[in-house]
């Protein structure tokens, strides 16, 4: 895919990239237990730091399709269960080249069952015992089953390549990323310096510092006060307040966060598709986006991945239709329905959305009782218990969304959508080499979900950043978690 959006934007920002300077970027963090281990990272701050220090074999483009990074090329066999990957010429910060052995070491480290690294689930399709290096820079991945979207695996969150044998990362981690390590204080700051020999061209910045500020208003104040040049994750309201003021620049990364209500399809009342459909019709999506996301986002159509590759654009937008909802509920014998909606302050917009939806449901005669849960254990709590909950997802390919959440054996199936036919469709897609055909299969799956799935996807939130006027080259289209999000090697200071 050659030049990423970053370089495109650089032109729009005007001027030729200037070399030098130090950029300070404020992120929310995890306190003193933060780590530089790229496989352990969980937070946005971890992801951004890992991205600066390390590389993956591939990464997601703005539409969530995999783009080659350390992998120069990849080639499947006919059965789609063996993939040959050729690495590009790249070096670690200590001068050693990135080799197939490093890749295998990294993947095996991630997959270590004793360690429970986050990306382990993503690497599950790979048979790492059978996979092997075929040369210094080429290797063959053996998969447990046909996997047409194997590149998504190489681009998955946290699948960074570390040098063979690397264990401790807190002092002097060595990666192949655009920046090399200088210093790290957990929960406070991380200082990195330009890696001159970076394979994708040395960064413009001399130095990059990540500082941790958990409170949103602290990040925006630090930005306004010139203490940082880049503030990650701002509130929609803050975005609106400063958009036109001109002292800082507000960058919105669209389609970054799916916002939904997840209905458990395996238990009453949502085991009745009519009730699910009724709920689809209850939701006033504009009202939800305006109220819960403060207008910073787009409405959803009960499908994940708006704007991403394979997204079923052609399906009609669902509108609020209280009469129809009442009718469906009556049909289902669920008049005067009472449900508990689980929510928590775990993600922006959750409690707001819950309140708004409660009022909307009341108009259809449904009593929604909002229950606040602990934000630290929310995701675990809603996974198996309850019937209806607020749900959110960051950007990932639609295929990953399906494989992680909608298959019978998916590990985080919050809607308990377990459907043999659906599973089969998925497997079929994974064995289909032709992209268009595969797209059609994804389309079929999405139609089913749209008609009777468990996710009431009401919106997609923007990811809002603030940058100082002097900062150029910040990508504007990349959803959070994709390659160009929080990417600093193409950024420069005017």
């Amino acid at each position: 895919s050659g030049s990423g959006p970053a370089t495109r934007d650089a032109g729009k920002d005007g001027g030729v990239p200037k070399r030098g300077g130090r950029l300070r970027a404020a992120f929310a963090g995890g306190g003193a237990s933060e780590t530089l281990d790229p496989h352990l990272g969980n937070l946005f701050a971890d992801a951004a730091r890992s991205k600066a220090l390390f590389d993956k074999l591939a990464d997601y483009g703005a539409d969530l399709s995999a783009e080659p990074r350390l992998a120069e090329r990849w080639e499947p066999n006919a059965a789609l269960d063996r993939w040959t990957v050729t690495l590009r010429k790249a070096g670690f910060h200590d001068g050693k080249p990135v080799t197939a052995a490093d890749v295998l070491y990294s993947y095996r480290r991630i997959a270590d069952p004793a360690k429970a690294y986050r990306a382990r689930a993503s690497l599950e399709p790979i048979d790492l015992k059978a996979s092997r290096a075929t040369g210094a820079r080429s290797l063959e991945f053996v998969l447990k089953r046909p996997t047409a979207e194997f590149p998504n695996i190489m681009a998955a969150f946290g699948t960074y390549i570390v040098p063979e044998g690397a264990t401790g990362f807190d002092s002097g981690p060595v990666g192949s990323g655009p920046f090399r390590f200088v210093s790290f204080t957990p929960g406070r700051s991380t200082v990195l310096r330009r890696h001159e020999e970076y394979w994708d061209g040395a960064p413009h910045l001399d130095e990059l510092e990540f500082v941790i500020a958990n409170e949103e208003s602290a990040r925006i104040n630090a930005l306004l006060g010139g203490q940082v040049e880049y503030a990650h994750e701002l509130n929609p309201a803050t975005g609106r307040a400063h958009e036109k003021a001109g002292s800082i620049e507000i960058v919105r990364l669209p389609n970054s966060a799916m916002q939904a209500f997840a209905m458990k399809t395996d238990r009453p009342p949502f085991d009745d598709p009519r009730v699910r459909e009724a709920f689809f019709h209850i939701a006033g999506r504009e009202e939800l986006v305006d109220g819960a996301l403060s207008g910073a986002g787009e409405i959803g159509n009960d499908l994940f991945g708006k704007g991403y590759e394979y997204y079923a654009d052609e399906l009609p937008q669902r509108e609020q239709d209280i009469d129809r909802a009442r009718h469906l509920l009556k049909q289902a014998g669920a008049e005067g329905l009472k449900v508990t909606l689980d929510t928590s302050a775990v993600a922006a917009g959750f409690t707001e959305a819950a309140g708004i939806f409660r009022d909307q449901a009341a108009r259809a005669g449904v009593t929604v009782e909002v229950r606040m849960g602990s934000k630290d254990s929310y995701w675990k709590d809603i996974l198996d218990s309850g019937t209806l909950c607020c749900y959110r997802s960051g950007a990932m390919p639609i295929e990953s969304h399906i494989s992680q959440r909608l298959l019978t054996d998916s590990t985080t199936n919050a809607t308990k959508w377990q459907d043999k036919g659906f599973d089969t469709l998925y497997q079929q897609a994974q064995s289909t080499k032709d992209k268009a055909e595969r797209g059609a299969l994804y389309g079929r799956m999405q139609r089913r979900l749209h008609a009777e799935g468990g996710f009431l996807v009401w919106g997609f939130g923007d990811w809002i950043l603030g940058v100082a006027p002097s900062v150029r080259g910040v990508a504007r289209e990349a959803p959070a978690n994709t390659l160009d999000w929080a990417r600093f090697d193409k950024v420069w200071l005017a």
């Binding site: 929609p236 309201a237 009202e287 403060s294 207008g295 707001e352 309140g355 009022d359």
Partner: protein
């Protein structure tokens, strides 16, 4: 030395929020459709709040719970703290005092965040959880202040005399000691009231007591903070009302407490800072009738 105007300031300041709290709910119309959050104008006098509701309506609705909850919470806290503090100040049994006060110290040392989280997790949302929470958080503080204030009064000869008369503990503790430290208690309670109010808001955010989008001034202040710069009214109006409530009620209490010292011979102009006269004092002339 009665000044008729001494209640005026407090009454004027507290009157607005109190009137709103009492009468506000009667002036709220049907809730219309929600607008976008944090938008000023657009048919909403005070704009909209974080979920697009009319701020004016919320202000009108949000006073009653604040006043009720804060009052009830403070009263509850004192209901426990007062006897505990007084008993421990009045007893001569060290073990009793230690038994009463030391466990409270333990409560004090537990980070309130943890307490909040636990109560949030353990109790269903509702008045009970909320009451318990506020009591848990305020009682140790209040009890220590009561105890400290009462220590001196409890050791006065007047208390011995009351004991000599076989007065009941209540009469002694509440009628004499409590009354002697009334001013301090009033000051502390006045402040605690406001503290309780925001505790309710924090609790609401963690899911205890009232809903996180409840119509409640304190909750409004907390939840609308994100929009402070685009739609300030959603924060400023309820905050000002709370400020007025706090300020007014405390000033009223101040006024009520004015010159409550037991009557006796006091210098004409009460003792102030002026140094005692050194040179011949100017004749002190009384008013001639």
């Amino acid at each position: 030395m009665k000044r008729p105007g001494r209640y005026a300031a407090g009454a004027a300041v507290a009157g607005v929020p109190l009137a709103l709290a009492v009468l506000g709910p009667f002036f709220v119309g049907e809730p219309g459709a929600r607008a976008a959050s944090f938008t000023p104008g657009g048919g909403h006098w005070l704009g909209t709040d974080f979920v697009g509701r009319d701020v004016l309506d919320q202000v009108l609705l949000g006073g009653r719970p604040v006043v009720l909850v804060a009052l009830a919470a403070t009263a509850l806290a004192y209901l426990v703290a007062l006897p505990v503090g007084l008993v421990s100040a009045l007893t001569h049994r060290r073990w009793l005092e230690e038994t009463l006060m030391r466990p409270l110290d333990v409560l004090l040392a537990v980070p309130s965040l943890l307490m909040l989280l636990l109560v949030a997790a353990a109790f269903p949302p509702g008045a009970v959880g909320l009451a318990l929470l506020v009591a848990l958080v305020s009682v140790p503080d209040a009890a220590r202040i009561v105890r400290a204030a009462a220590a001196e009064a409890a050791s006065r000869p007047a208390v011995e005399a009351l004991r000599m008369q076989g007065e009941s503990w209540w009469r002694l503790a509440v009628g004499y000691v409590g009354r002697s430290i009334l001013r301090t208690l009033a000051a502390d309670a006045g402040i605690r009231l406001t503290g309780a109010l925001y505790l309710v808001a924090t609790a609401a955010f963690l899911g205890i007591g009232v809903a996180p989008d409840a119509s409640d001034w304190a909750v409004m202040v907390d939840r609308n903070r994100a929009g402070l710069f685009i739609q300030p009214w959603a924060v400023v109006v309820p905050a000002l009302l709370i400020v007025a409530l706090t300020m007014g009620s405390n000033l009223l209490v101040d006024a009520a407490m004015e010159h409550r010292a037991p009557a006796g011979r006091t210098p004409r102009d009460r003792v102030r800072s002026e140094p005692a006269p050194r040179a011949p004092v100017p004749p002190r002339k009384g008013r001639r009738p």
